[in-house]
């Protein structure tokens, strides 16, 4: 199981992936926006997304859970 967490305070601009989807290493899960910059959050492992913890428009803090891949 791999947890994907936010690296910084940001707004969730786009949720690209969905729960139940299978992903490979490097796939974009969500796109965050902070300080006028888009920051794609990528899967670091292959597997199935069992949990997607954010929705578009959410504000995430550093360390907040974004997704779980199993």
């Amino acid at each position: 199981m791999a947890e994907v967490r936010a690296e910084m305070v940001a707004n969730v601009w786009k949720v690209v992936a969905a729960e139940g989807e299978s992903v490979t290493d490097g796939d974009t899960l969500v796109i965050l926006e902070s300080m006028k910059m888009e920051i794609p959050v990528l899967a670091e492992d292959a597997g199935t997304i069992t949990r997607l913890a954010v929705a578009e428009g959410d504000v995430v803090q550093e360390g907040d859970l974004i997704a779980v891949i199993e």
């Binding site: 690296e7 910084m8 305070v9 707004n11 926006e33 902070s34 300080m35 006028k36 910059m37 920051i39």
Partner: protein
């Protein structure tokens, strides 16, 4: 001269404009969002008005809220700084319609230059060199592919309404163009509300050099030297210097002449910047775009010329003579600006947070334009610029030494900054040699 000016901006540039206003005896009004109440510029203004919640669209981009603040405070003029509404001709027109003085060029010049395709075409007609590119918006991929064949690869894909490097991508072949085109369109629509795309020849070994101009009420346009802005990450500037170490005296003279021509072509009034791309190998240049406002990196020009550009903006807007004689215009020594961003030094990822310690370097030739102090929170709503660390030296070598010492003496804790990157930049053989191009940062951070 007007007695009171509203500064429609935030952070370091609001503070910098307020400083000159106060020096000239003009009352300065600040506007701020809920996120910025504790910033130094709010405290330093003669009066400050809360204009809305943190999101820019509800505060610094809210024309009605800003004009209401001007009305209640009795402001007679509006200075827009850079970014936000600074290049929005509708805002300038609304300021004028409210009976206020707009500290900037006419809404007409802004409209003509705001659209990059239109600006390119206009400059071509005025005899200013432009790079091969499209003359009208590229609507779809088929048109883009056909246009790129004509221009020749590699091409640069750009948002016509764009700025700040957002949505720009280079494409080396049709496959990369196909991949980049839709992304560029989506971003252009999202960030600038206009999906129009422009294709231009991409120059591999290029420097980004711009000329500061000043349009006077009598129709004359002055060129106040160039700034080299080739140190960029994600097509956004990180450090600037003047004079450019990559421009020969002959090329400089040609660029300054072209910039004057560009300004005259749109009857430009006030401070503006003509951005050019310099082909290092060919020692030739082409027009990129014109910024109809004060530029972030204007301090390096002020350091070598001794001229306060904001003061000239105020004088020109009020219809008064500028403070210096154009015949005495001279450049003295060398100046460097380092943009201190709230971002990590390795990957340049944003790092909002609480500033625990903040201590600026002081000393001969050092100027710091900052937007924050200890105890301030840097929020994710705005750009990551914390401060501009500027140094002036008798020559480039002295400026480099002073810059390195100033970076080491700048202490910011509580959040990540790119100060470490600047220390490495100043030590790098390529930057020190002066012989660098816009790919420098990607070579330092492969």
């Amino acid at each position: 001269m007007f007695a009171c000016v509203l500064v429609a901006n935030r952070g370091e540039i609001a503070r910098r404009v307020i400083r000159t206003a106060r020096k000239m005896g003009i009352r300065a009004v600040a506007v701020y969002s809920e996120a910025d109440a504790d910033l130094p510029y709010v405290a330093e203004a003669d009066e400050a008005v809360l204009i809305g919640p943190p999101a820019p669209v509800s505060s610094y981009l809210d024309i009605a809220a800003i004009l209401a603040a001007a009305a209640t405070t009795g402001a007679q003029a509006v200075h827009p700084g850079y970014g936000f509404l600074a290049e929005n001709p509708d805002f300038a027109a609304a300021v004028l319609a409210a009976g206020l003085t707009w500290v900037g060029p006419s809404p007409d010049s802004m409209t003509q230059m705001g659209d990059k395709i239109n600006a390119r075409n206009l400059m071509e007609q005025a005899g200013v060199p432009v790079s091969p590119g499209t003359h009208e918006p590229v609507a779809d991929l088929t048109t883009a592919l056909a246009a790129a064949e004509q221009i020749g690869y590699p091409v640069m894909i750009k948002a016509s309404a764009g700025g700040g490097g957002i949505g720009m991508t280079a494409a080396a072949d049709p496959e990369q163009l196909a991949a980049g085109f839709e992304t560029a369109r989506t971003r252009a629509e999202r960030f600038f509300g206009n999906p129009a795309i422009l294709l231009e020849r991409y120059v591999e070994r290029a420097r980004h050099v711009e000329v500061q101009i000043l349009g006077l009420p009598d129709g004359r346009v002055l060129a106040l030297g160039e700034r080299d802005c080739s140190v960029q990450r994600r097509h956004q500037k990180v450090a600037e210097e003047t004079p450019s170490p990559g421009v020969s005296p002959h090329l400089r003279a040609r660029m300054l002449d072209a910039a004057v021509q560009a300004g005259e072509a749109v009857a430009y009034l006030g401070a503006g910047t003509v951005e050019c791309l310099v082909d290092v190998t060919a020692q030739d240049f082409t027009f990129l775009e014109m910024n109809t406002r004060l530029q972030v990196e204007h301090p390096v020009t002020e350091l070598v010329t001794g001229i306060d550009l904001v003061e000239q903006q105020f004088l020109i807007a009020a219809g008064e003579p500028i403070s210096f004689n154009p015949a005495d215009l001279a450049s003295r020594g060398h100046a460097i600006e380092l943009r201190v961003y709230a971002e990590d030094s390795k990957r340049f990822l944003p790092s909002p947070g609480l500033i625990e310690e903040w201590s600026e370097p002081v000393g001969p030739g050092i100027r710091v334009d900052s937007g924050y102090k200890a105890g301030n929170r840097v929020t994710p709503y705005y750009d990551p610029l914390l401060a501009k660390l500027c140094v002036h030296g008798a020559d480039r070598a002295q400026a480099l030494d002073r810059a390195a010492a100033a970076v080491a003496a700048f202490n910011i804790s509580g959040l990540k900054t790119n100060l470490q990157f600047h220390a490495e930049l100043l030590e790098s053989a390529e930057f020190r040699s002066g012989d660098y191009d816009t790919s420098l940062v990607s070579r330092l951070r492969p």
